[in-house]
């Protein structure tokens, strides 16, 4: 299978909240040192936000010849990837973060880029020797700088060049507090990724997962690369099934701190938390509707394990499934109208779907006798889940419209698949060399990376939304 990458014509028009808004019709560098964008002469000067929204249209404004020159194909493992140089950013060691190191790692982890020899002293104002970089095998080059501001924040800047064409592709400046330097690096990687592939990057998103060391459990929130981890919950009792709210501000999860499974909701920034489902028996498997107004949960309050809907406050509880079997692991489709879930009403666990308002569930998985842990891609087209075959549990995908089933992992103890919000990667937990580890994979299973090698058992990863 081949995939083609082309540069979109839209200039980088990224508006990070921490930045002052650019002046209308900003031109290159000297006019506005705080926030600069480069526009190709053909593209009309327009308000940055409109430029961002009109990215697809702006593409059409670029000359055809320019697009054709930067076309890269990816096919198979080790197939051609986009070679890019990312040099050390000027003064990044003074900021305490290797901005360029984070950008390089992000781009390589996506599987789409290969970083070439990037030695050299550059920043965003440099004029690169393009023949030299072509000699190093680069098609693109990124560099930048960090500068400490008087108020203690850092002014982080970058620039991206098309080495093939010898052209400046634009850049950005952003002012961030020290705690957000990693985030700034991830945003740069996102901008480079988007500019060169046309897809939205996920490097500045977050993931949550659970760790266990002896009888200590933590619920952690980290960058999508697994670094910069902060602890949201410390407990001596198990924590399972974390679920990001669609706005990325809170996490629902199941905690056993009171001696049974209870669903909690916690504001990530403040730590404020509330038990929202604490009915008789076990309360688990929280899943948010895409509009954040409803939670699906598994409750045993009427006997058995059945799926219910409720408000995020825990009120207005209504039952969705009506069986004497186990119905659990609900997940909403992106339009919020359908719920996929696991049921063993047919004798062994399979994945079904039902209208969110109730109705007759329809079976979805037919391969093998054990399919659990459904996850839906953001475009609603792909279902990821765990299939058990013999003693092996493997992440599997199904094209919902066509029914094609594909195994995407090469390990045998997988659990908990979760899609990145751009739909290009799946994160999951598995066991390797006796430890629980987190992995990401492209949807075709061709490019996989391991996220954490700290030696701590990690499980239940869940990928957060865009717009941290």
């Amino acid at each position: 299978m081949t995939r083609q990458l082309t540069i979109i014509g839209a200039p980088l028009a990224y508006n990070a909240p921490a930045c002052p808004k650019p002046a209308h019709g900003t031109r290159f560098a000297e006019a506005n040192p705080q926030h600069f964008m480069v526009t190709p002469p053909e593209t009309p000067q327009s308000h940055p936000r409109r430029r961002l929204l009109a990215g697809a249209l702006a593409f059409g404004a670029w000359p055809l010849a320019l697009r054709a020159q930067f076309r890269v194909e990816i096919s198979g493992v080790g197939g051609t990837q986009l070679p890019i140089g990312v040099t050390r950013f000027r003064d990044e060691d003074k900021s305490g973060q290797s901005i360029s190191g984070i950008v390089r790692a992000d781009l390589e982890r996506s599987g789409v880029f290969r970083v070439v020899d990037s030695a050299g002293e550059f920043d965003e104002t440099s004029r690169p020797n393009f023949p030299e970089w072509r000699g190093r095998g680069a098609d693109a080059l990124a560099s930048g700088s960090t500068t400490r501001l008087a108020d203690g924040r850092f002014d982080v800047r970058f620039k991206l060049w098309d080495v093939v064409k010898g052209q400046d592709l634009g850049g950005q400046a952003m002012a961030v507090v020290t705690a957000d330097l990693r985030l700034a690096a991830h945003r740069i990687a996102d901008a480079v990724y988007e500019k060169l592939t046309g897809d939205k990057g996920v490097f500045s998103t977050r993931i949550a997962y659970v760790t266990r060391v002896a009888n200590r459990y933590t619920l952690r929130v980290t960058d999508a690369d697994g670094e910069g981890g902060q602890v949201a919950l410390n407990s001596t009792q198990p924590i399972i099934s974390p679920a990001w709210a669609p706005d990325g501000k809170s996490l629902a999860y199941v905690s056993f701190e009171s001696g049974k499974a209870v669903v909690w909701s916690q504001d990530v920034a403040t730590g404020e938390r509330r038990a929202i489902a604490n009915f008789r028996g076990s309360n688990s498997a929280p899943a948010w509707s895409p509009d954040g107004r409803t939670l699906a949960v598994t409750l045993s309050r009427e006997g058995g394990s059945q799926i219910y809907l409720m408000d995020p406050s825990g009120s207005n509880v209504r039952r969705v499934t009506q069986s004497s079997a186990i119905d659990t692991e609900p997940v909403f489709t992106p339009d919020g109208k359908v719920i996929y879930f696991v049921s063993d009403r047919g004798g062994s666990p399979q994945i079904y779907r039902v209208g969110a308002g109730g109705g007759n569930p329809e079976r979805v998985t037919f391969t093998g006798n054990y399919n659990i842990s459904p996850a839906l891609s953001p475009d609603g087209r792909v279902l990821a889940y765990v299939n058990r075959n013999g003693n092996e549990f493997k992440i599997t995908t199904m094209d919902i419209a066509g029914g094609t089933v594909r195994t995407v992992s090469d390990t045998a103890d997988d659990e908990s698949p979760s899609f990145a919000p751009n739909g290009k990667l799946i994160i999951y937990a598995t066991r390797a060399q006796g430890r629980d580890v987190l992995m990401t994979t492209t949807l075709d299973g061709r490019i996989r990376t391991r996220l954490l090698s700290s030696g701590v058992d990690v499980r239940e990863p869940i990928w957060g939304p865009f717009g941290r």
């Binding site: 909240p17 921490a18 108020d151 203690g152 924040r153 507090v177 705690a179 990693r182 985030l183 977050r206 009888n215 929130v221 960058d223 910069g228 902060q230 602890v231 949201a232 919950l233 410390n234 407990s235 001596t236 009792q237 198990p238 399972i240 099934s241 905690s255 056993f256 701190e257 009171s258 001696g259 049974k260 990530v268 920034a269 403040t270 730590g271 038990a275 604490n278 008789r280 028996g281 076990s282 688990s284 498997a285 598994t298 045993s300 058995g304 394990s305 186990i326 692991e329 696991v342 063993d344 666990p349 659990i372 842990s373 765990v386 003693n391 549990f393 659990e415 908990s416 239940e460 941290r468």
Partner: protein
């Protein structure tokens, strides 16, 4: 954490029934919130303030174990793989607990269902729930009333044995009967 299991005769059992701990309501189990100062707590939205809130703020909350009632007497019923059928050998145990509940209407118990480590967490939580409910139903047929028993599940989260072979798995497929 080790699960304390004491095997006592029925006579001793009835003697200690009076001193059991009360049930832990969720309201009592207030989490021990970490008192670390959080500079980002106030208005942590996208700030235009200089030196303002980080967008990556996460506040840590600590919770501890709240139900370490030392007088818990555990009784254990074991299950076959993928099964929630009560084996004959455990029926006398269930019967004696049912009788003790039937005799003292204020007495309460919790039945915790568990599974071995194989399979998904949520599905196993539901399987453990099924096992606990099987024991509960059996006790209610034998004289206990519905309000005296709560069936809960730990799924595969609290194994009795951490091994990865059938002998460990067999020890983990269980239901534990605890006084409340």
């Amino acid at each position: 954490m080790t699960t304390l299991r004491i095997t006592v005769s029925a006579a001793v059992l009835s003697a200690v029934l009076a001193g059991c701990g009360s049930s832990v309501k969720l309201d009592d189990a207030a989490p021990v919130v970490d008192a670390r100062p959080n500079p980002n707590a106030a208005g942590a939205n996208s700030g235009a303030r200089p030196g303002g809130a980080a967008q990556s703020a996460v506040t840590t909350v600590d919770v501890g174990a709240n139900n370490q009632a030392a007088s818990n007497l555990a009784r254990v019923v074991y299950f076959d793989f993928d099964s929630y059928v009560l084996r004959d050998e455990y029926k006398p145990l269930i019967e004696s607990h049912a009788r003790s509940l039937s005799a003292v209407k204020t007495k309460k118990m919790v039945i915790e269902g568990h599974t071995d480590e194989r399979g998904g967490r949520e599905y196993n939580l539901a399987l453990g729930q099924r096992r606990a409910e099987a024991v509960a139903k059996s006790m209610m047929l034998l004289g206990a009333s519905d309000g005296q028993i709560e069936a809960v599940s730990y799924g595969k989260e609290r194994p009795a044995s951490e091994g990865h072979d059938e002998s460990a798995w067999a020890k983990n497929r269980r239901a534990e009967l605890k006084d409340r």
